[in-house]
């Protein structure tokens, strides 16, 4: 591995550490396994001899695969010590805005898993549709439609709860 690639990966870890951990936590549902997944992914990434295309998407894909491996190691028993609500830090102030955010988190939790994954990757992790498509290995159009439908589902849910 070249010094340049190590530096790039290190930089990528520093800037996207929270998002990677958040993603792994969403898959494994366990804080320890999520950290293990990020660590395992980077141990493998540091062994790369050639820089892949779309490095950021590649790194997220590696984290995803490592998280799924962690889940398999645990015998497919998703010991959920963190559910979707636990992925977010709730706002400290208890105003109307905090209430809306609470509702949004619940709406995200109620989403179809495929749509939720895309919405979270786009809005919380800041990935582009093209990158999400690479990470999930699906066409870009599918990503866009899942995202639109996910947002629409959240909107409907909020509407049902009286947030027009």
């Amino acid at each position: 591995m070249s010094d340049r690639l190590i530096r790039k990966l290190d930089q990528l870890y520093r800037t996207h550490r929270d998002q990677m951990y958040f993603y792994a936590l969403g898959i494994t549902g366990c804080t320890e396994r999520a950290e293990d997944a990020v660590h395992d992914a980077f141990v493998k990434l540091f062994k790369l001899t050639k820089q892949p295309r779309q490095l950021r998407a590649y790194v997220f894909q590696a984290v995803r695969n490592a998280a799924i491996d962690q889940l398999r190691k645990a015998g497919n028993e998703k010991t959920v010590d963190v559910d979707c609500t636990g992925l977010y830090v709730l706002p400290e102030n208890r105003g109307e805005r905090a209430e809306v955010q609470q509702q949004i988190i619940q709406a995200i939790e109620g989403l179809d898993p495929q749509r939720r994954e895309v919405v979270v990757m786009r809005l919380n992790m800041g990935l582009r549709f093209r990158e999400i498509a690479k990470v999930l290995n699906i066409p870009c159009g599918t990503v866009a439609s899942r995202y639109q439908r996910g947002i629409e589902d959240i909107r409907c849910k909020l509407k049902e709860n009286g947030y027009e």
Binding site: I6, F46, T49, Q101, I154, L158
Partner: protein, 122 residues
């Protein structure tokens, strides 16, 4: 709520963060990778070595062949057709008649040779 508001609210949600332990583990993995670095392009180095050895062998072979052929007489080629007037004939310089010699510059050459010979004899 509009879609724009929803996306903004989701974007503004704060997510949980990992422990400092993860940073240390990644740091260790990075340090280990730096210490066990391999040449960046081993395949290219391999090809370069093969190319270098090949060039060396070829150079040695060419040099060897040239050295063998240095002392040899040049082999006449028979298939070349030479115009009759160009074919060299043995010239007896003593009985050489300058008036029948070809035009300069060859004439001057034979004249000079003749003069030199006469000078030596005198």
């Amino acid at each position: 709520m509009s879609k724009r508001d929803i996306t903004r609210d989701i974007h503004e949600l704060k997510t949980v963060t990992p422990s400092a332990k993860l940073d240390r583990r990644i740091q260790h993995a990075r340090d280990a990778a730096i210490h066990t670095q391999t040449p960046s392009h081993p395949i290219r180095f391999g090809w370069a070595a093969i190319f270098g050895i090949g060039m060396g062998v070829a150079g040695f072979g060419i040099g060897f062949v040239v050295a063998l052929n240095l002392g040899k007489e040049p082999v006449p080629t028979e298939s070349v057709e030479v115009p009759v007037q160009w074919v060299s004939q043995p010239v007896d310089l003593k009985s050489f008649d300058l008036t029948q010699q070809p035009d300069p510059p060859f004439g001057r050459y034979f004249e000079r040779m003749n003069n030199m010979e006469q000078g030596v004899q005198q």
